[in-house]
């Protein structure tokens, strides 16, 4: 079977128009087409950057060619502090994000279910949410010092609100008709929560998680740019200050990769936990 497949692929690559050889070629082309339609623009963008830099259409000291950046990245990772910066940044945003999830999801689930609690807490939540966490950063520094704690806290602070509000929204949007149905079948309060409210709110919680992850990275960079001597955000500023532009872009790309990885992980988790919502129709 597999031998045949290999054969027919070879035949197809040789350009034979046999019925047996058409299928693999077709799927190969389809696969390539799908890849190009998804990543073509990105590849084009990077190519344009590279060529523009080499051809000096742009100033190469501001937009260095990609191989310079790659070399700086390699050097930064192996000899420089880039790996340590990545580690400390991951630690700061990770701790803050996990703490925010641990507080926001249970609190949101609780607040969403109990009207009085939600009504009492909503105005203060709105006020906190509308006050930019960056504006409060100096206050946190005053309270917690210029060390790790104030950075982690400012990220935590900014991260908690999107998640909290999404969770509350998710709980409130759970279909009361389903809750009533569960009650008819004798569900206890806990069972209603576990079997109806929690799964019903899960898609909204995931929306909140993605918003929060984005927010966590944003605040990480901001806090590291303001008062830090380590971390990717600091490295971006520092490299720019020392005119190590390839290193600066290395740190920027690392931050972008961090964001992509976080988002991808959450999407993967969501696919696993919310399989019902993307079952084929």
């Amino acid at each position: 079977m597999s031998v045949q497949d290999v054969n027919s692929t070879v035949v197809a690559l040789n350009g034979e128009e046999e019925t047996g050889g058409q299928k693999p070629l077709q799927s190969l082309l389809e696969g390539a087409g799908r890849f190009l339609s998804r990543y073509g623009l990105l590849i084009g963008f990077l190519l344009l950057w590279h060529v523009a830099s080499i051809q000096r259409w742009v100033n190469p000291s501001v937009f260095p060619p990609l191989d310079d950046i790659a070399a700086a990245f390699w050097r930064g990772m192996t000899q420089g502090s880039l790996l340590a910066d990545l580690g400390i940044s991951l630690q700061r945003s990770g701790i803050a994000f996990v703490a925010a999830v641990a507080v926001a999801v249970p609190l949101g689930l609780f607040m969403g279910q109990i009207r009085a609690v939600e009504r009492a807490l909503d105005p203060i939540l709105q006020l906190f949410r509308q006050t930019s966490a960056l504006a409060l950063y100096p206050v946190f520094i005053l309270l917690l010092g210029l060390g790790e704690l104030s950075k982690v806290f400012v990220i935590f602070w900014a991260t908690i609100f999107p998640l909290l509000l999404s969770t509350i929204g998710g709980v409130k949007e759970v279909d009361p008709k389903l809750v009533e149905m569960a009650r008819v079948y004798g569900a206890s309060r806990l069972q209603v929560f576990r079997r109806v409210v929690l799964p019903g709110a899960l898609p909204s919680i995931f929306v909140g998680l993605r918003l929060s992850a984005t927010m966590a990275l944003l605040m990480l960079i901001a806090s590291e740019m303001i008062g830090a001597n380590q971390g990717l955000g600091f490295q971006v500023m520092n490299a720019q200050f020392n005119f190590q532009i390839p290193l600066m872009f290395s740190a920027i790309f690392l931050l972008a990769a961090l964001g992509l990885a976080a988002n991808y992980t959450i999407v993967l988790l969501q696919r696993r936990l919310c399989r019902w919502s993307n079952a084929p129709v």
């Binding site: 008709k177 004798g186 919310c274 129709v281």
Partner: protein, 268 residues
């Protein structure tokens, strides 16, 4: 007298299993500071295994009556008993089927059918295997064995409603309450579902109280039809449907019953 005394003790003699008695039931809703009577002094007794169909104009209190029987709504006055026990809150011996299927979107069809069984705790806890086997049995009863692993969004309206019926049957209730269960279905599917419901009702020997707007459906399914008047000063009326089963929708006798019901609404 003895029956009342017995049920006051909370026990239910075997002879009353599946019986429903509604005495002097009244219910009004307070809307914008005014009391609107919805049910006034209703008296009905439903025999075990009987099929009672409720018809009435919109707003005549059909859903309210069903919800009182289900324990989702409390009566203002009167006495409602199912299988000899006074109704206060929801109970395992009563299952309600709503106008919408109300399936859990995140659970597959089999899980939805097993839902009522899985909720049971303590001494009434059903082992997982057993719950699944029972769910499969009722799923086959509604003809959906092949869809056990499908998710609700992959079902048609009629299929979803059948899953809802299987879920209700799986808890083996003494009485089945149905609020316009086929209202959202097309005419052809509706007839299929009516045939199937008749078969299931017969097989399970369950008491059935069904609300509908469809007079043909009423004559087809009912042992008796309860006609709720819109004007609260008029008394509700009961109509015996004395037709052999399976019923022939095109027979003259069937048509006569349908016309008699139309007349109840002053439409003939």
């Amino acid at each position: 007298m003895t029956a009342a005394a017995l049920s006051a003790n909370g026990s239910s003699p075997a002879s009353t299993r599946g019986e429903v008695s509604i005495r002097d039931l009244s219910k009004s809703f307070r809307i914008a500071g005014r009391d609107f009577p919805v049910i006034r002094n209703l008296n009905v007794a439903i025999g075990a295994g009987e099929s009672l169909v409720i018809v009435g104009a919109s707003g005549s209190g059909k859903t309210t009556l069903l919800r009182i029987l289900a324990g989702l709504e409390t009566a203002d006055a009167g006495d409602v008993r199912v299988s000899g026990r006074q109704v206060s809150g929801v109970g395992a011996e009563r299952a309600m089927i709503f106008q919408e299927p109300r399936l859990l979107p995140w659970v597959n069809v089999l899980g939805n059918v097993a839902f009522g069984l899985e909720l049971r705790q303590g001494a009434r806890k059903v082992p997982r295997r057993e719950a699944e086997a029972q769910a499969r049995h009722y799923l086959s009863l509604v003809g959906l064995t092949d869809f056990a692993d499908a998710f609700p969004r992959q079902l048609s309206g009629g299929m979803a409603q059948r899953v809802g019926i299987a879920r209700a049957l799986a808890v083996q209730p003494e009485i089945l309450l149905l609020d316009e269960p086929f209202g959202a279905l097309d005419a052809m599917t509706r007839i299929t579902m009516q045939n199937e419901l008749t078969r299931i009702w017969h097989e399970e020997q369950v008491t059935m109280v069904l609300v509908t707007h469809d007079l043909e459906e009423a004559v087809y399914l009912a042992d008796r039809v309860l006609v709720l008047p819109k004007e609260k000063h008029r008394a509700p009326r009961l109509l015996d449907i004395d037709l052999p089963r399976p019923r022939d929708r095109s027979s003259p006798a069937f048509t006569r019953y349908r016309e008699a019901l139309l007349q109840e609404f002053g439409l003939h």
